[in-house]
């Protein structure tokens, strides 16, 4: 066993067995910090996962709602393009209260290192001890950075044009710590935890990504005028990291002003970094601005694992199994997956075909105001790939 796997195993054990009090938060943070220091030189790039016979294995979690049908389309497309990826399906049943299937899924992801998933529904009529499965995945695998790139796509009619915002959201702590208690009947306390190591980590990730992609400004979104200690700490960490990247401008904005600016002048934003809940709001607002939940893919990166899904994480229960869902977001997420596996040629080929299909208004699905069906869109993408690309299977 390598040092890294021992470290991650001990981290996993700590997460499963330790008591969910602030003390454990500190212990977890301490453990993660000591691991970080040892592997500081390698944590800049997540190593591509194992390949057997030149083919990658990727865990696929179909999820609920439109998840299964979109997952099938992804498999269909990959098979058509002869992409050297095999999917290991791990089904998670959201109606059961047991944690077995989610633990199996987590183990599969640890084994393969990469996953593609649909959203798993959280039935909030079950007792509070039943935690959100999506959140459990993110925190157990320590997928600390959620990256969403919102760009205006040609051919999609929106109220605002020329939007190009990269949203980097802390994915594991903040308001989503799931630490709640009811000391007095009728009074519930929910803890929002902000820690220095995780804030530094996400800020560093944001600035590094900005530098890699040639971005010029990073904006931190916060509410430090009210939550002086918590968001104050986050802001302080961002400022500290910013000083190490002098070529990138850094400013900050309060979250309510941010949403106001986003609906009036979204072109002013470049890269945005923020804690968990504000990230939820801002990423959904930006996704709405560029055309809706059907267009934007999302990626969750951790030190050892990567998970790809649609950006706004909707189950789409009302449009499930009617062949009207927009597959663009999921297919673009699969392109991000291919980029992560360093299969760049396949990724660019599929992405080009998707963008060319989206510009055709005739093929727009219902969420974009058209009447196309999911299968029509996927067929059109495959045709586009066949006409321009290398050898593929016949349609």
């Amino acid at each position: 066993m390598t040092a890294r796997s021992i470290c991650s195993l001990s981290r996993a054990l700590k997460a499963v067995w330790s008591d969910r009090l602030a003390l454990s938060a500190a212990a977890r943070v301490h453990g993660a910090a000591s691991c970080n220091q040892r592997h500081k030189s390698t944590y800049t790039s997540i190593p591509p996962p194992a390949r057997y016979g030149g083919r990658h294995t990727v865990t696929l979690i179909p999820g609920d709602g439109i998840g299964p049908e979109l997952a099938n389309h992804v498999r269909e497309l990959f098979r058509f393009c002869c992409v050297p990826v095999d999917f290991e399906v791990a089904n998670v049943d959201s109606s059961l209260a047991s944690e077995d299937d989610i633990n199996n899924a987590i183990m599969a992801i640890r084994r393969n290192g990469v996953a593609l998933k649909g959203n798993i529904e959280t039935n909030h009529n079950l007792p509070p001890s039943y935690k959100s499965r999506n959140n459990l995945l993110r925190t157990t695998l320590d997928l600390y950075a959620n990256v969403m790139h919102c760009q205006s796509l040609p051919g999609v009619r929106t109220r605002h044009k020329n939007i190009d915002i990269l949203i980097i959201r802390e994915n594991t702590e903040g308001e989503y710590s799931s630490l709640e208690h009811e000391n007095v009947p009728g009074v519930v306390e929910c803890l929002k935890i902000i820690t220095r190591p995780k804030s530094l980590r996400i800020a560093d990730y944001a600035f590094r990504t900005a530098r890699e992609r040639g971005r010029r400004r990073v904006t931190a979104v916060h509410k430090a005028n009210i939550m002086k200690l918590a968001d104050g700490l986050f802001l302080e960490c961002c400022k500290e990291v910013a000083s190490g990247y002098p070529e990138i401008a850094f400013d900050s904005m309060i979250v309510d002003n941010t949403t106001m600016q986003l609906v009036s002048r979204p072109q002013q934003f470049d890269v945005m970094v923020m804690p968990n809940l504000y990230g939820n709001v801002v990423s959904n607002v930006c996704a709405g601005l560029v055309g809706g939940p059907g267009l934007v893919p999302g990626a969750n990166y951790g030190e050892d694992y990567a998970l790809f899904e649609t950006g706004t994480r909707n189950t789409g229960k009302s449009i499930a199994n009617r062949n009207i869902a927009n597959p663009t977001a999921m297919l673009l997420a699969s392109c991000l997956l291919l980029d992560h596996l360093k299969l760049h040629a396949y990724a660019s080929m599929i992405r080009r075909a998707i963008i060319s299909t989206v510009t055709e208004a005739r093929l727009h699905t219902a969420d974009l105001g058209g009447q196309g069906s999911t299968s029509e869109v996927v067929q059109s993408i495959m045709k586009a790939i066949q006409s321009t690309g290398p050898m593929t299977l016949s349609i």
Binding site: V29, P128, R159, H160, P197, L229, V255, V263, V281
Partner: protein
């Protein structure tokens, strides 16, 4: 036929109000001009109310924090006395003190009068173009607890915990207010905004209380929606929303988001409802110290808040009159302040509205 009904309704209101005037039933309102552009926009509103012959008697008061007995900061006793007597207040923007040693004045007012509901109706203003047209929704935000409880601790060095407090009483109170508001203002549906999939117990409690209260208001449609779904749909199609009720933080973000949809804080009215029938209506923009005293300010936000106040007091006829005059002026685009895209002075804008109000009589 709806128009005829509205006309009859407004004629009836006018009749009732003229009886009230003839009975010398002037209602007192505590006016807090505020800082910066506060005094000039307050005087603009007073002028317009005079032109409309609204039965309002203004009692001007200043709120600067003073240290009371026991070392606790409080608002001046004459301001508190005036508010307790009149129950209705209109407030301009207040300066936020930095390192003054006392909390913000807005927080003090909120605590003193237990202002538990913040109501912001967001209606698209014809004539002030934004990418969003036909916005017509109301955000009702719980204003006393939630994420803004101010309870924070440093657990160990580098680990901070902030507590979000949700209580049964506050949730029930805000839900009841939301449904009553919907009923009194002929709104068709109330949507509870939450994140109960993640914050199972806290937002779960809020949601449960909303559901319970909804049982008593069967004539109003009740729906629940996740915060992220609301944000996503709001920027794509805001016409699908009617009344939204939510805890503190979500309310803060969403109400500012909706203000951005209709044109910003300079044209958005806001009202704070408290226990014991107290209500304070305010403009939510800043004090704009750079244009203070230069007759350049835009009184629309404070004016629309005053219209909200008239409606709250039952003086619908006057409210409609003043609101129509204001919207007509903005729609005409001949006399507009700088932030609305024109180059008239505040006094000119006010005079134009006064003229229209008198014409409408």
């Amino acid at each position: 036929s709806t128009k005829a009904f509205t006309n009859t309704n407004s004629i009836l209101n006018h009749y009732i109000e003229s009886i009230q005037i003839s009975q010398q039933n002037l209602q007192t309102v505590t006016l807090i001009p505020g800082d910066g552009i506060g005094p000039e926009i307050s005087s603009a509103v007073m002028k317009i109310f005079e032109a409309a012959k609204a039965p309002i008697q203004w009692e001007e008061r200043n709120v600067t924090a003073i240290k009371g007995p026991g070392g606790r900061w409080m608002i001046p006793p004459d301001a508190k006395e005036s508010m307790d007597k009149s129950k209705i207040g209109l407030k301009g923007p207040l300066k936020t003190p930095i390192a003054a040693g006392h909390p913000s004045m807005n927080l003090l007012l909120r605590k003193t009068f237990d202002l538990y509901a913040n109501v912001r109706p967001c209606v698209s203003i014809e004539g002030y173009k934004t990418p969003y047209t036909d916005v017509n929704l109301v955000t009702i935000r719980e204003n006393t607890e939630g994420e803004y409880s101010g309870i924070e601790h440093v657990i160990v060095d580098g680990v901070v915990q902030s507590i979000k407090l949700i209580t049964e009483n506050a949730s029930r109170r805000i839900a009841e207010y939301a449904f009553e508001y919907a009923r009194n203002n002929q709104r068709a549906s109330v949507t509870a905004v939450h994140k109960a999939n993640i914050m199972r117990m806290s937002d779960g409690l809020f949601l449960r209380k909303c559901r319970e209260v909804a049982e008593n208001f069967k004539d109003i449609k009740f729906t629940e929606m996740y915060l992220d779904t609301v944000c996503l749909n709001m920027v794509q199609d805001p016409t699908q929303f009617d009344v939204l009720v939510m805890p503190n933080l979500y309310g803060d973000i969403l109400s500012d988001l909706c203000a951005g949809l209709i044109g910003g804080l300079g044209v958005t009215p806001s009202g704070n409802i408290g226990a014991n029938g107290v209500a304070i209506f305010e403009s939510v923009h800043g004090t704009a110290p750079d244009i203070a005293g230069l007759d350049l300010a835009n009184p629309t936000a404070l004016l629309l808040s005053a219209v909200m106040m008239l409606r709250h007091m039952g003086l619908h006829g006057y409210g409609k009159k003043i609101e129509t005059a204001c919207f007509d002026t903005i729609r005409d685009k001949k006399v507009l302040t700088k932030d609305l895209g024109g180059n008239s002075k505040c006094s000119e804008f006010t005079a134009e509205i006064c003229r229209r109000v008198q014409d409408l009589d």
